[in-house]
């Protein structure tokens, strides 16, 4: 007998998402137009790429609250290098490399020195923010380049390029999680790091890898963001880390680590951007948007946690 029990916990977010979309499309006819949808997706791509990396971090039992700053900083590094004549591939590579270096620093701080990840990345985030302000001097740096225009503004088969990049990030993370030994070890470390260590898992290495991947994806999202808006600014990416964390936990990844899934992070990302988009369409003041977003996070995670408590008591 292979009857699959439909679990409200697994599908609750998806059902909620569909209901929200239906409700909005009734309230505002512009919502379901292809222009609006594509626009919405394009806007969600940057946070989406961040969320892909954040999924790994949270499954490993950690948080990375520096990714918003990494996003901004990587964009600024690339723009600055281009402004002094460095060719575009080298500039992008430098931005990604910067991300990797930051990831190693955060990873070492967490793994080797045992600093709680929330605090370690709070600190690295501050440092990166300072570097960003130094690089830009506080002024925006505009970039104009064919490659960047393609990455940020063009479409392929009618779908904007950033959306492909978002999907590729998710596929990459899913591949790591489901197909590589490293991925299984990420789940194990998030589930019980001492048991993992005694089973021969290099726990420190896994933690560092997780932060490196997440930071590089954050740097990559910075490249996409700069390409999309055409400028690198000192405030780019600020606050994105919280959107990414929200998207991941709405997608059902366990905040305590050890459980989660990259595909569902897509739903979390879309959930967040549909809310933003629909509030704009319905001309509801942005202030309400924050309140509503907060409620959604409480509801989604609360539903999950409450079920877990109930299961535990039974």
């Amino acid at each position: 007998m292979r009857l699959k029990k439909i679990n409200l916990r697994d599908y609750g977010v998806i059902i909620g998402f569909v209901v929200l979309c239906v409700a909005i499309s009734i309230a505002s006819p512009t919502f379901l137009t292809s222009r609006n949808i594509l626009n919405l997706l394009r806007q969600s791509a940057v946070v989406g790429i961040l969320s892909a990396g954040m999924t790994l971090v949270i499954i490993s039992g950690n948080f990375d609250i520096s990714v918003g700053y990494i996003c901004g900083c990587a964009g600024a590094i690339m723009a600055k290098l281009m402004s002094i004549g460095v060719p575009i591939p080298a500039a992008i590579l430098a931005a990604l490399l910067a991300g990797a270096v930051i990831g190693v620093c955060s990873g070492v701080a967490v793994a080797k020195f045992g600093i709680p990840s929330m605090i370690a990345t709070l600190a690295t985030g501050q440092i990166i923010n300072g570097v960003l302000l130094l690089v830009t001097g506080g002024y925006p740096i505009s970039v104009s380049n064919r490659v960047l225009d393609f990455v940020g503004k063009e479409s392929v088969l009618g779908i904007p390029v950033p959306i492909y990049l978002f999907l590729i990030s998710i596929i990459l993370v899913n591949f790591i999680l489901k197909k590589l030994v490293t991925g299984r070890h990420i789940y194990s470390v998030g589930g019980n790091d001492e048991a993992s260590r005694l089973s021969g898992v290099s726990v420190n290495k896994i933690k560092i890898i997780v932060f490196v991947i997440s930071s590089m994806l954050a740097a990559f999202s910075g490249v996409v963001l700069t390409a999309r808006v055409g400028t690198a600014t000192a405030t780019a990416g600020v606050g994105y880390e919280l959107d990414a964390i929200a998207a991941v936990v709405i997608g059902g990844t366990n905040v305590a680590g050890g459980e989660g899934n990259a595909w569902k992070t897509i739903v979390g990302v879309l959930f967040m951007s549909v809310i933003a988009n629909s509030f704009n369409l319905l001309e509801v003041h942005v202030y309400f948007q924050f309140i509503f977003k907060g409620l959604i996070i409480l509801f989604a995670v609360g539903f999950d946690s409450y079920n877990r408590i109930k299961r535990g008591k039974n």
């Binding site: 489901k178 197909k179 590589l180 030994v181 991925g183 299984r184 070890h185 789940y187 194990s188 589930g191 019980n192 001492e194 048991a195 993992s196 260590r197 005694l198 089973s199 021969g200 898992v201 290099s202 366990n254 050890g258 459980e259 008591k313 039974n314």
Partner: protein
């Protein structure tokens, strides 16, 4: 004697699975009642229903002739039912007195009334004859002292029925004696005690009556005097008890040692330990809790750092700095604390079973869950692990079955040496037999085994050679030619005497 408490027709199901069936249970005032049964027989569940941690699916609870409702832990407390859990519910970062008053702090206006709390605390200490320093952190106390704090807390809440769920698993001999004195004293004061334990010796020593459970049902309640090990085992398992014979020896005397440890040291903890394990040999580590058995094997395995010492596998020196190095050199460790160190509880059975040798199950360098599941399924059959599906989370299994999953994890590779650290702790007789069988099969294949247990009978039964451990060193090594419990105890006592003289 009057019936203090009666449970009638209790049923309990967890998400459709029946774990207790039509239970009738009673307690009389002032008795010590042993509650026995294999893992998963339902002892803990029944007691958790009695004190309100779980709610029953159906049935009645009657106390002193009146039906009572116990739906929450608070209800149990109000009726005078207290439980000392297997895993203590002490908060290690709070002081003793803070733990003692946790959840029932005394206030003066809105502020804590420290003075009155201290007064009450000292009064309780006096009343029950405990002496515990109120201001030290509970976490710095020994497990036995922590347990005392819990018992005292329950008593000070006017508990009349005190349930103790395997209270002696982490106690030393002296601490056990102390606990038994406390229990005898409580009985004299008219308290009723329910004592859950796997250690039959304790049951004979303490209890008036024993209730035996099997598969969620009560087999019967017997006068303890009328029982013996064989009859209890029969009632518990429903099968005839075979007795303790030493198994055949597979030691290969002529071969070089499969593992040799030379002058292993960890400052202050492991003191100059040297020994060998021959192919096919089972070396038992006997000793009291806290003697340093776990510390020695963890230092060998790279789980803890070592300060000095050499390890040879099949005559070749190996460098072990982490568990990963140990595994690469053919040494495995089944750790003492299966929940904290052995398993990833929220993960599926097959993922746990595959963790040590994930690479073996890959296909084209990619993880292959199908291979993992096939391996897990084989293990389930070989080790007779009771599961619904290998896709279930390990947390759902009973203790004995969880332990078998840990063992499955270590059978996934051909290890030369496998260390079993307290593999039988808190598991039932049937599961123990299965584990002994695995050890015997490994010996037959010529592997080296180190076996640690606090149950000396087990060590004697399983081992070819016994190392007696005390203070992080081997104080005596003996070939197992009809070694008896008393020989091991004598070795420990002689050593302790010697130390005291020095």
């Amino acid at each position: 004697m009057e019936k203090l408490l009666e449970m009638q027709g209790i049923n309990k199901s967890f998400s459709g699975v029946e774990v207790l069936r039509n239970i009738d249970f009673f307690l009389e005032t002032g008795e010590v009642r042993a509650l026995l049964g294999a893992n998963g027989a339902g002892k803990s569940t029944l007691m958790k229903i009695l004190c309100g941690v779980y709610t029953k699916t159906s049935g009645k609870i009657i106390m002193e002739g009146k039906e009572v409702q116990i739906d929450r832990p608070q209800d149990g407390k109000n009726l005078g039912i207290g439980i000392v859990h297997q895993e203590l519910s002490i908060i290690p970062t709070l002081s003793v007195i803070e733990n003692f008053f946790l959840g029932r702090e005394i206030k003066k206006g809105q502020l804590l009334d420290q003075k009155r709390m201290r007064k009450i605390f000292f009064e309780s200490c006096e009343e029950f004859g405990f002496s515990i320093e109120p201001d030290i952190k509970a976490g710095s106390l020994s497990v036995a002292k922590q347990q005392m704090v819990e018992i005292m807390k329950i008593l000070s809440q006017d508990a009349r029925i005190i349930i103790m769920d395997e209270p002696t698993t982490s106690l030393t001999r002296d601490e056990k004696k102390n606990l038994f004195n406390i229990i005898i004293d409580l009985k004299k004061k008219g308290k009723t005690i329910v004592y859950i334990s796997h250690i039959l010796e304790e049951v004979f020593q303490l209890s008036d009556y024993a209730t035996i459970m099997r598969n969620g049902e009560i087999v019967g309640t017997y006068k303890t005097e009328s029982l013996n090990v064989a009859s209890i085992s029969e009632h518990m398992s429903g099968a005839k008890y075979v007795g303790k014979q030493r198994t055949h020896s597979y030691k290969q005397d002529d071969k070089t040692a499969i593992m040799k440890v030379e002058s292993l040291k960890r400052n202050g903890i492991v003191n100059n330990v040297s020994f060998e394990v021959l192919p096919g040999e089972v070396v038992g580590f006997a000793g009291l809790v806290g003697a340093g058995r776990t510390e020695i094997v963890k230092a060998i395995y790279g789980g803890d750092r070592k300060d000095a010492g050499k390890i040879f596998v099949k005559g070749r020196e190996v460098k072990i700095r982490s568990p990963k190095d140990a595994i690469a050199n053919g040494i495995g460790l089944i750790p003492e604390d299966r929940k904290g160190e052995g398993l990833i509880l929220k993960q599926e059975i097959y993922k746990n079973a595959a963790l040590v040798q994930l690479k073996r199950f890959r296909k084209f360098k990619l993880l292959n869950e199908k291979n993992e599941k096939v391996y897990a399924q084989e293990s389930v059959e070989n080790l007779s692990i009771k599961v619904n599906s290998v896709k279930d989370a390990v947390v759902k299994l009973s203790g004995g079955n969880q332990q078998k999953v840990v063992i499955a994890k270590w059978l996934s590779q051909n290890f030369d040496v496998l260390i079993f650290d307290e593999p039988t702790k808190g598991i039932d007789i049937g599961a123990k037999e299965d584990i002994f069988r695995v050890i015997e099969e490994m010996a037959k294949e010529g592997k080296g085994i180190i076996f640690i247990s606090s149950d000396l009978d087990e060590v004697i039964r399983v081992s070819d050679r016994i190392c007696v451990i005390r203070d992080g060193k081997i104080i005596k090594e003996m070939e197992n030619d009809n070694v008896e419990q008393k020989d091991i105890m004598n070795a420990i006592l002689a050593y302790t005497d010697q130390e005291e003289k020095n």
